[in-house]
Amino acid sequence: MRNKYYLAFPVAAAIAVLSLSVASPARAADCELKMGVMGPLSGGAAAWGDAMRLGAEFAAAEANQKGGLKIGADTCHVTVLPYDSKYTVEGAAAGGNYFASQGVNFIIGPVGSPEATGVKPVAERNGQITFNSAYAKDAIGPQWPLAFHQVVGPGTWASPVVAEAKKHFDIKSVVVVAPNDQGGTDIASVDADAYRAQGIEASEEYYQRGTTNFAPIVARMLSKNPDVIDTASSPPADAATMAKQLRQAGFTGPLARLGGPGTAQILNAVGGMKNLGNFYWAEIVPIDDPKVKSLWDDYKKVMGKAAPNNSLFATSVAASRLVLKAISKAGTQKDVNAVRDALRSLPVVDPNLGKGAWTGKETYGIAQEMGFPVGMGMIKDGKNLGVRAIDVTTK
């Protein structure tokens, strides 16, 4: 009687041959540089994580198109390893250790505040540079010299955005709503302070992350009769549902979003600009700038598919490009401190985002924030007024 496993060897051999034949084509590069990218690749904030991942992959593809990244005497192929940290502290901490096990010393991301909190001490221990996009009050700091920040936080841009909004809308009171964890409270409290500094009465509402039906929260917010409701750093899917239910409940005042990108989802949910009415928001980058816009076209040319409709993609590209430049300048991928010093010494310049500066000294006590001009978008009476640039690089 034939052994029931008699087919196993030829099948395994066939699989092995097939795997080898469809493996990455033979590269001219002498070595491999692994770059990690971390963020929520599932869940309500997946749009942000996906944007972060695709930005890093694009920067890697750009380097590989030129034959690889020059590191010392070698030319290395850049490989991007993604990790789904699920917008949680423990997810990001596990991600840091996973990357360490894979020999990854450079992590683009993570995205959110809980993730940044989780990964920073782990990355310091493991000797890994991170480049997060968290809006947390302690996104970076002198106690984490390997942690960099790829976006300017609300502490810097919230006030100028609110001041500009006041010129267009009659705002005397606002409700700022966000999830009840660090990813929500750190941003909503800063936003509320920015409104108060402009003489606007501000209250904060927090909800349990994972809520899908916001009808009770909407009723509670409307009971305060606010002029504006600001969704702050609520994940895009949550903000979209809230916007839909607010308009359904008869709220006609302006909506706002002084938090991460999510305008496209909000527009999708309410059914277009006419239904949205009045809306203002902060953009990570001035997305109407032709050079910034061209990044999306460049992505399509190189990668053969559309770039994500999320401006976090742009800062991820810029951060990845800077890290790769720093590794090349330092001439090593093993000496992380040398790469950190090289990164600090590089001017903050990007072919698409323009000229920026290392900011963050005033806010975080360390100038390791990649500060490019941010954007403020506005939809007024159903018409898109575009996204104008706000220069915050002097702070």
Binding site: S42, Q208, N213, A215, I217, R220, A237, K244, N309
Partner: protein, 288 residues
């Protein structure tokens, strides 16, 4: 007073949605003894199948819902017959398999449709408005369909041979099998019915809220809580528990806020379970 009425209306709307969702879960838990971790994923599948039928095939919404729930039901039938049935007596195995299927379904949805919510609206807009409150017509439609579904499931379970057979299998599988009732024929059908209910809820509710791949997790938690609170296998208990949860959630969120409201809800559920450990209505059926 208006806020009180508004919160009550929201609570009843939530309760109707939860009842529809929990019905399927209670069928599985009470009859098959299967903790179906994929229940939330079928809710999401119902939403996305309906969206695809409307957007890609151009079907009118009611037809799209029917197509979507039938497809989801077929998927559930095949999954139970092929994957779960061979290990149906092993609680741990069924738990892990349904959890795995949940991950497969939600990841597939993420890959096919992307992480962003598509534009997907309920076909009926507008609301009945009063002084300080409003009731969207969509919520009234869901309330009506919930009532019909609850009635239909009750009739099926208590007035049809299929329902009697399922209850017999839940009472004592060995004796029922000895009497000529075939679990291998009935359990996949029961699973399909549960899946249809989850998908129907998703098809109706996601256009009112938002459609996203990750919605299934919180939906599963809510279903679990309702089924335990109502009493394992009790359709009436699950229905009443759904409205209890919906109303408590609405009032606590409106008057205490989102964070404190969630805490209040869990404390109330905990107190009820301490006083009545078998849930509000115990169990009509005993799972094996």
């Amino acid at each position: 007073m208006n806020g009180f009425i508004a919160a009550g209306i929201i609570g009843i709307s939530l309760g109707a949605q939860y009842a529809l969702l929990a019905l399927g879960f209670t069928l599985m838990f009470g009859i098959l003894g299967v903790i179906n971790f994929a229940h939330g994923a079928f809710y999401v599948v119902g939403g996305y199948f309906t969206y695809a039928a409307v957007s890609w095939l151009g079907l009118p919404f009611p037809a799209a819902v029917i197509v979507a729930v039938l497809l989801a039901g077929a998927l559930g039938y095949v999954f139970e017959l092929v994957v779960l049935e061979p290990v149906i007596q092993d609680y741990l195995a069924t738990l892990m398999l349904t959890l795995g299927f949940h991950l497969i379904l939600t990841t597939a949805i993420l890959v096919i449709f992307g992480p962003e919510s598509p534009h997907f609206e309920f076909p009926v807009s507008g609301a009945i408005r009063g002084e300080g409150f409003y009731i969207p017509y969509a919520n009234l439609i869901v309330l009506a369909i919930s009532a019909l579904a609850i009635g239909a499931i009750y009739l099926i379970m208590h007035r049809t041979d299929f329902g009697r057979a399922l209850r017999a299998l839940a009472d004592d599988r060995a004796v029922a099998a000895a009497q000529g009732i075939h679990p291998r024929r009935l359990f996949p059908l029961a699973f399909a019915v549960a899946t249809v209910l989850a998908a129907l809820t998703g098809a109706l509710v996601t256009p009112m809220l938002a459609l996203a791949p990750n919605l299934g997790e919180s939906v599963l938690t809510t279903s679990f809580m309702i089924v335990i609170l109502g009493g394992l296998g009790s359709i009436g208990g699950a229905t009443i528990a759904a409205f209890v949860v919906g109303i408590v959630e609405a009032y606590s969120s409106v008057y205490l806020g989102g964070s404190q409201g969630a805490l209040a809800l869990f404390i109330i559920v905990l107190v009820i379970l301490v006083v009545r450990p078998r849930g509000l209505f115990g169990s009509e059926f005993v799972g094996h």
